[in-house]
Amino acid sequence: MSSEKKGLKNNMNALSKEKFLIRDDEIFMRMNLAERIQHFILIITFLILIVTGLPLLFYNIKFLKSLFSIEQSFYTRGILHRAAAVAMILNLIWHTLYTVFTSRGRNNFKEMIPKFKDLKDAFKIFWHNTGLTRFLYRRGILKKFFASHPYWLFEKPPKYGRYNFIEKFEYWAVGWGSVVMIISGFFMWNVELSLSIFPLWAHNIFIILHGYEAILAFLAVIIWHMYNVHLNPESFPMSKIWVNGKITGKELRILHPLEYKKILENRMKADQSNQRE
């Protein structure tokens, strides 16, 4: 009993020390200004591309047809689509240069590299959320197995780093999608060039790629990104990070515990060396 209390007290000490080093209301920059501008340009260009592109795949829907009912609007649509594409490509180039040439960019990129842990995290969070195994354990089903293998109870959610598996998936989906869309879109833009290199059937493949990848990207953003970042009950109606870039120490501790831990360790080391001096 007393040892338990002692442990609790130690914990409390550690916690207060932690709170001293990273206050709950301390502000961290999750997205700096450059990153926010890149994200904003991506939103705008993506929206324009979707609005001016996706209706072409659903030409039988009257509502979509009425979007282009004004004379010359279909022609303007084409110009807008390509202009937005160019803007998006320039944004992508900026992002690439930013990633290569700034230390923050390089660090972000390192954090973004997918690891096997991400796959395990996805698995863990799913079973943690469903709570199926804990339900079975409480009902006494497979009790022995769960008692000796508590991992399968998924009591705690996985601890994420600076970027969790959801964010990594989205980032690399944008990367992959951009490559597909830029290549196929370039050849659709320059039909004459495309058909001087490729036969017609290969050109048709570009068209199919461009269309289906667009549907996939649209659904991914509407469903996955919107729910996980903005529409889930915790941050509804939206997370403000994309506007002001700020995340608090408390949010960091809950949402990105490994990054929090990393910062904490760094500060502890600095703290200790200060104390030694």
Partner: protein, 405 residues
């Protein structure tokens, strides 16, 4: 000088309308504007109108037409005269008229009796080239509409006749004043007018090509060289004739948005036959032309009202359409670079390497087919995973909240 005075006096005398002596007898009574029968029918004859009519000018007397009063002296004559028989002089027109639908109506003793005077007028008949003639090209539509907008039973409704006023032919008459622009009689005939489906009718399937070809000579030649025209010449009932694509009374220029063959509408016109299962089996052509065209960028853009993209006619031609197996066809593989090159400068032979608007990609473009399947599966799988994860997340939040409470 004296000579000139006599001459001019003679000339002036000739210009003043004058009745012959015999006709003056008639005019003693008929000049009275109030002369009426007991039923109230006006019997007044306006002398100026008669004398300036084609008959008056050429000096035909009253009894020349009202022949039952020839030599009659004991005036006043009986109230009801016999019907004037124009055919005694106009024998050719009368003969043609006898075989016409208007005459049939007469024979059938329908409520409607059509005779010469209904179109040409009575005492005031003028030469057909006279501006004031009822059958002068610019006036004829109004003359026909007198009955055909009102009294006559119409298979296709009054609107169908009225549509003519929206046509390019009417515009030619009204706006451009072209007497050569088609009025009613140019297509339907005049004295010999027949019912539309009568084999001798000028607008029947059998004769329409020749009728339109009277003016549109070059188009008739092109049409008869094309695949449709060749079968038409063989007597096929399935091939389209002019009116099947261009419509009838309301025919407009293909540049007009209202035209059935306007750039963005033509695909629907062609697919009326080219999407028809029975016709495709009989003639061995492909169906689903509209759908496969609409799926292409040309078709999609066209559906959105873009006119700069290719439509059926841009590649296949129009009046002289030939099958792609014909080396002269614009869609023959050898000619495709040139055809596509009209819009895509520098189009090479790759434009022909692969098929366009195919029904089944499974056969014609295996890679495209596999790619589509791959993407459909990918989208379904990824979206399902998204939804399952989101459902689990929502479940957890709800469950946790309930536990706390």
């Amino acid at each position: 000088m004296k000579k000139f005075l006599i001459l001019s006096a003679f000339f002036m005398l000739a210009c003043v309308p004058l009745f012959s002596e015999a006709d003056e007898d008639c005019m003693i009574c008929h000049e009275d504007p109030d002369l009426k029968t007991e039923e109230g029918t006006l019997l007044f004859i306006e002398s100026v109108k008669f004398l300036s009519s084609v008959h008056g000018e050429s000096g035909i007397s009253c009894v020349g037409c009202h022949s039952d009063l020839q030599g009659f002296e004991d005036f006043p004559h009986k109230e009801k005269l016999e019907t004037v028989s124009c055919g005694e002089c106009h024998d050719k027109a009368a003969e043609e008229f006898k075989a016409s639908i208007h005459s049939e109506a007469t024979i059938k003793k329908d409520s409607l009796i059509v005779s010469c005077k209904d179109c040409h007028g009575k005492h005031d008949i003028r030469n057909k080239d006279d501006f004031d003639s009822r059958v002068f090209p610019l006036n004829l539509p109004q003359t026909c509409e007198l009955c055909h907008l009102g009294k006559v039973k119409r298979e296709r409704g009054v609107e169908f006749i009225k549509q003519y006023e929206k046509s390019i032919h009417f515009e030619g008459l009204e706006k451009a004043g072209l007497t050569t622009s088609s009025n009613c009689s140019n297509c339907h005939g005049a004295h010999d007018i027949k019912a539309v489906h009568h084999p001798l009718s000028r607008v029947s399937r059998e004769n329409i090509i020749g009728t339109c070809g009277t003016c549109h000579v070059g188009i008739e030649r092109d049409y008869l060289e094309g695949v449709h025209g060749k079968d038409y010449a063989k007597g096929s009932k399935d091939v389209p004739v002019c009116t099947d694509c261009h419509s009838e009374h309301d025919i407009t220029s293909p540049q007009n948005l209202a035209s059935s063959v306007y750039k963005t509408k033509i695909a629907e016109v062609c697919s009326r036959c080219h999407d028809d299962e029975a016709l495709s089996r009989q003639y061995g052509f492909l169906t689903s032309r509209l759908k496969t065209f609409s799926d292409s960028f040309h078709g999609t853009a066209s559906k959105f009202g873009e006119t700069r993209v290719a439509n059926c006619a841009s590649c296949h031609g129009f009046h002289a359409i030939r099958p792609s197996s014909d080396p002269k066809s614009s869609t023959h593989p050898g000619n495709l670079p040139e055809t596509c090159g009209n819009c895509h400068p520098g189009a090479g032979k790759n434009f022909a390497e692969g098929k366009i608007h195919v029904i089944s990609e499974k056969i014609s473009n295996k890679w495209a087919y596999l790619l589509k399947i791959f993407y459909i599966i990918l989208i379904i799988v990824i979206v399902s995973i998204f939804l399952i994860f989101i459902a689990a997340d929502i479940f957890h939040r709800v469950f946790r909240r309930r536990k706390r409470e």
